[in-house]
């Protein structure tokens, strides 16, 4: 099984190395860029606010990076199988769930590089910055949250992209039907906010995509 994993990992590395390398560079750079201002020696109350604003302004880059990494790595994991109509994969001598697990595991293994880069960047940024009183750095918490976001994004997009064009059509059809129902409901002046409800269910805790929302702060009170 180790040999199989190595083979799958190598293949996926070949397909998604550009994404992984760029993601790793970005993951390392974002925490460093977000604390640039904190390295100045003349700090005061205003600098604290400025620093928090600077850190917050970079905050949205983390979930965006996590989503992009999850999406692109998941697509790369299945692209070759889709092109070959899955014939090669389906004729390999192992249970299909194991093959899916190998692909999933290889994708996650590759994504540890950008996650590690975020950790190293966040730790370096924290060490280099002189924090005003009352502020604290959260490099580990930020990295864990980034790792969770990457995992969720990869898992969701991996599941979607593993399916056939028919599956993708069903998902898109369901979304289109939802929007259509909302338009009809709104046209009929009924107070039934389907999309709003869906947003709450998905994006607010404990929704499955809640990890992407809220404040992503390397430095906070």
């Amino acid at each position: 099984m180790r040999g199989m994993f190595r083979a799958v990992l190598y293949a996926q590395w070949k397909w998604s190395r550009l994404v992984v390398v760029l993601g790793t560079v970005a993951g390392f750079a974002i925490p460093l860029l977000s604390v640039q201002g904190a390295a100045r020696p003349d700090r005061g109350a205003l600098q604290t606010q400025e620093l928090l604003r600077a850190v917050q302004s970079w905050g949205s880059a983390y979930p965006l990076l996590a989503a992009a990494l999850g999406l692109l790595t998941a697509i790369a994991a299945w692209a070759a199988d889709h092109r070959g109509r899955h014939i090669h994969a389906l004729t390999l001598p192992l249970p299909r769930w194991q093959y899916v697990a190998l692909r999933f595991g290889a994708g996650l293994a590759l994504l540890t590089a950008p996650i590690a880069a975020v950790l190293i960047g966040a730790l370096l940024g924290t060490v280099m910055a002189t924090l005003p009183p009352g502020l604290q750095a959260y490099p580990i918490a930020l990295t864990l949250r980034f790792a969770l976001a990457v995992f969720v994004a990869f898992a969701v997009f991996f599941a979607v992209s593993a399916g056939t064009a028919r599956t993708a059509g069903i998902i898109l059809g369901a979304i289109a039907a939802l929007v259509l129902v909302q338009v009809i409901v709104s046209g009929a002046n009924l107070e039934w906010d389907l999309l709003g409800t869906l947003q709450v269910v998905l994006l607010q805790g404990p929704g499955p995509l809640a990890v992407f929302t809220g404040r992503w702060m390397l430095i906070d009170v």
Partner: protein, 302 residues
């Protein structure tokens, strides 16, 4: 006799367009079994059912003594498969594809793979997508042979290839069979090619098996007879009357299957006489079998 592949009342259906209603197939162990049929007859679908890539509606499939698709993972360890279309990743090199495949097969024969790379003159650093059609076919044969399976399932492996490449591939297959005693299940349009290498043959049309027989029996038993004075009704003959056509006053042409020389007495008992018995090669026999089947809509058991 043991069978490497056995299907029993196998039924598969895709919408309303195509159906395999009840397929009974028996591929003897150690044979080179040719699977013939026109385009759209169901050869590739049958192969996919045998490999567990498709789920049958009903019926039973046994491959190498195990039920398919229930034990697909165990069975696929012993099967080398070459599909109709190249299915490998175009962005991987020949060497990378060989290494990838080797990781999944515990009985992978590295020495054989190396020998075949040299014999087929494959450039290991070349991307699969950059290989010619013949080189792609050779690489897929290499991958199927180096995994040392007991059964090779080849879906039109030489289709569209030049004669030199076809000969290279067929000689590699024959060498493998003689060395390992493996079974080969090969579908092809190239009837003459199958005639040279196969010892069993089956013909399929429109999802139905027309015939399944040892090659020599099919070839020797399929004849064109020139018959004079034949009555309209010939009763229940001991041979299969595939087609019957008049021949410009010289009597009739009958194409028959399962023919043996002593059957002339039956024809003569009808008040007819046989003026000539013409041997048919496999291609002619194949065409006549199809014509006869389509005219009568029934299977021919040879």
């Amino acid at each position: 006799m043991t069978y490497a592949i056995e299907t029993e009342q196998l039924r598969y259906r895709v919408g309303k367009a195509f159906e395999i209603p009840a397929l009974d197939l028996r591929v003897p162990t150690g044979s080179i079994y040719g699977f013939l049929g026109p385009n759209g007859s169901g050869k590739t679908t049958t192969i996919r059912l045998i490999l567990g890539l498709l789920q049958p509606v009903s019926g039973r499939i046994t491959v190498l003594g195990r039920p398919m698709p229930a034990q697909y993972a165990r069975i696929l360890r012993h099967i080398g498969y070459v599909p109709e279309q190249p299915h490998l990743d175009a962005t991987m090199t020949v060497r990378e594809l060989i290494d990838f495949q080797a990781a999944f097969y515990p009985r992978w024969d590295r020495a054989r793979a190396t020998e075949l790379v040299e014999r087929f003159e494959l450039d290991e650093a070349r991307l699969f997508g950059r290989l010619s059609k013949g080189q792609k076919a050779k690489l897929m044969i290499l991958l199927a042979l180096a995994q040392c399976g007991e059964l090779l399932v080849l879906d039109e492996p030489t289709d569209g290839l030049d004669p030199v490449v076809r000969r290279d591939i067929l000689s590699a297959l024959i060498a493998y069979v003689s060395e390992r005693g493996a079974t080969i299940f090969i579908s092809s349009h190239l009837v003459h090619e199958l005639e040279r290498v196969c010892d069993w043959v089956a013909v399929m049309d429109n999802g139905r098996l027309i015939t399944e027989s040892p090659m020599d029996k099919l070839k020797n038993g399929t004849k064109r007879l020139v018959v004079a004075g034949a009555p309209a009704e010939i009763g229940n003959p001991p041979f299969q009357l595939l087609t019957r056509e008049s021949s410009n006053g010289a009597g009739e042409y009958w194409v028959v299957g399962n023919w043996e020389p002593d059957m002339t007495t039956y024809v003569e008992s009808l008040g007819a006489s046989i003026r000539d018995v013409i041997d048919l090669d496999l291609e002619e026999g194949f065409v006549e079998l199809l014509r006869g089947f389509r005219a009568k809509g029934r299977a021919v058991r040879v």
